[in-house]
């Protein structure tokens, strides 16, 4: 029984499915610790990394995950605008990959919803590796895995997600996943960076990081996009850092066992101080290692017998 045809959004996953993905990842994590790390499971399957946005980390994580399971991997990097100007549309590319018989397409795109569009055109499984400001479900799953690894259970944990929520696909996916798993989520940041509608996401909104820092079990910092400074969203990186950055002083007020997380790449000295990023609390490197296991888990669960898949994507 395979669980999903496509993974486009965390909306598709209930607590049971998330648990299954994380449990499977846990078994696979064992394999990554032994000398021979390759498994024959997906021999003969072909996975395409279709990346319209540069992202070395996510791409190599998916590439390695697929290779560890013996799938063949094609990397297709394109710039959406330039491929349009060359007359190679998104749909043409989708059909080309389809004709080559790929079994899964891992897509990263700057346009929100591009994976949904792709899922309507191809028979292959589509995995969203980040679309616009919409979602980044595999990041959320590896984050859930990393938190669960430390706290055993996600229920009733208090997680603060700090920073640019409006423009963050990581935040959207994480809020959904954490709320589904019973965690308490607080979104923290300047009012210009938190959509007013987020109160309907099951999260609490707070503009003062100091008001929650002592209560949280996890402080999840989002990357500050340098270009936002020019959009009148906050006065300067300096002010942002003073009010919403996690420096040593703030980190020292956290509960002893509380964790610091970041999806990377970090702007040290802006949203996170360098010493905090390297402190005992920081599980940033665990996140990277766990990303591999979670992506292997998804490829294994999704590339089973396709006919059994529940085609969630096409019904939207």
């Amino acid at each position: 029984m395979s669980m999903l045809k496509h993974l486009l959004s965390m909306d598709q996953l209930g607590a049971g499915e998330i648990t299954r993905i994380l449990d499977t990842a846990e078994s696979l994590r064992q394999v990554t610790d032994r000398p021979i790390k390759k498994l024959p499971t997906l021999r003969g399957r072909t996975v395409c990394n279709l990346f319209y946005e540069a992202s070395t980390r996510t791409r190599i994580s998916f590439e390695l995950a697929a290779k560890r399971l013996s799938a063949d991997v094609i990397n297709f990097s394109a710039d959406a605008k330039s491929s349009v100007s060359k007359g190679e549309s998104f749909k043409d590319t989708a059909w080309t990959l389809e004709a080559m018989g790929v079994d899964a397409i891992i897509v990263r795109h700057g346009s929100s919803g591009a994976p949904h569009q792709l899922a309507r055109w191809v028979k292959a499984s589509v995995l969203n590796a980040g679309d616009g400001f919409h979602e980044h479900p595999t990041q959320a799953l590896l984050d859930l895995f990393s938190i669960r690894e430390r706290f055993k259970d996600l229920e009733d944990l208090h997680v603060a997600i700090v920073g640019d929520i409006v423009h963050s696909r990581v935040a959207r996916s994480n809020v959904k996943g954490l709320v589904t798993m019973g965690a308490k989520v607080t979104l923290v940041g300047p009012a210009t960076l938190i959509p007013a509608q987020a109160k309907d996401w099951g999260a609490t909104i707070e503009h003062d990081l100091d008001a929650v820092i002592e209560d949280v079990d996890v402080c999840y910092l989002l990357r500050v996009q340098k270009e936002r400074q020019n959009e009148q969203l906050y006065p300067s990186d300096r002010e942002y850092s003073i009010l919403w950055g996690l420096d040593r002083r703030r980190a020292s007020r956290m509960k002893p066992e509380a964790l610091v997380m970041h999806p990377g790449p970090m702007n040290r000295g802006v949203e996170i101080a360098a010493d905090v990023s390297e402190s005992q609390r920081s599980i940033v490197l665990d996140q990277v290692a766990n990303g591999l296991a979670v992506r292997m888990s998804l490829l294994y669960l999704m590339l089973g017998k396709p006919e059994d898949g529940v085609d969630v994507g096409a019904s939207v």
Binding site: M1, S2, R20, D23, T24, S27, L28, Q30, V31, R34, I36, K38, L39, P40, T41, L42, G44, R45, L69, Y300, L301, L303, G304, K305, D308
Partner: protein, 188 residues
Amino acid sequence: MPAQAAGGAEFQLKTRVMGPDEIRRALIRISHEIVEGNKGSEDLVIVGIRTRGAPLADRVANTIASFEGVDLPSGALDVSLYRDDVALRGPRNLEATTVPGDLDGKIVVLVDDVLYTGRTIRAAFDAVLDMGRPKAIRLAVLVDRGHRELPIRADHVGKNLPTASEEVVKVHVEELDGEDAVLIGEFK
């Protein structure tokens, strides 16, 4: 509680071919054969194939340990990731693979409940070989029901059970099913 086959058909019991006593005796005999064939318990690692091979391996290891007066490690192997039917049957829920220590130079005895096509054992060979380089791999099964699809033969067999291919052999173990039994039936 009627077991459900993949298609929703129900398991209908025809015969109960082994009970707790027969199973106990068979495992004791197998344990002795293993030690005899190995000329002692040195370098032995007993590894059960999940799901029902694992508790059987534990019993064999305990039996050997008690009559040899040694501490014999046992492990459990989930071969799902090595199966050749992932694309046909879809992914299974994974269980932990626990193998005691280093397998290099060891005599690995694989234990499973039923030997049928041989494909599970083939997957187990690959799984073991990816974890180390044992000196030898042996195979012990509670029931050999025939119908091999690969040239694989068990070293130790609890009971040879001639069956028709439409028949289903189910092994129940105390640890997981609340009883020890070997049943023959059909899915209807």
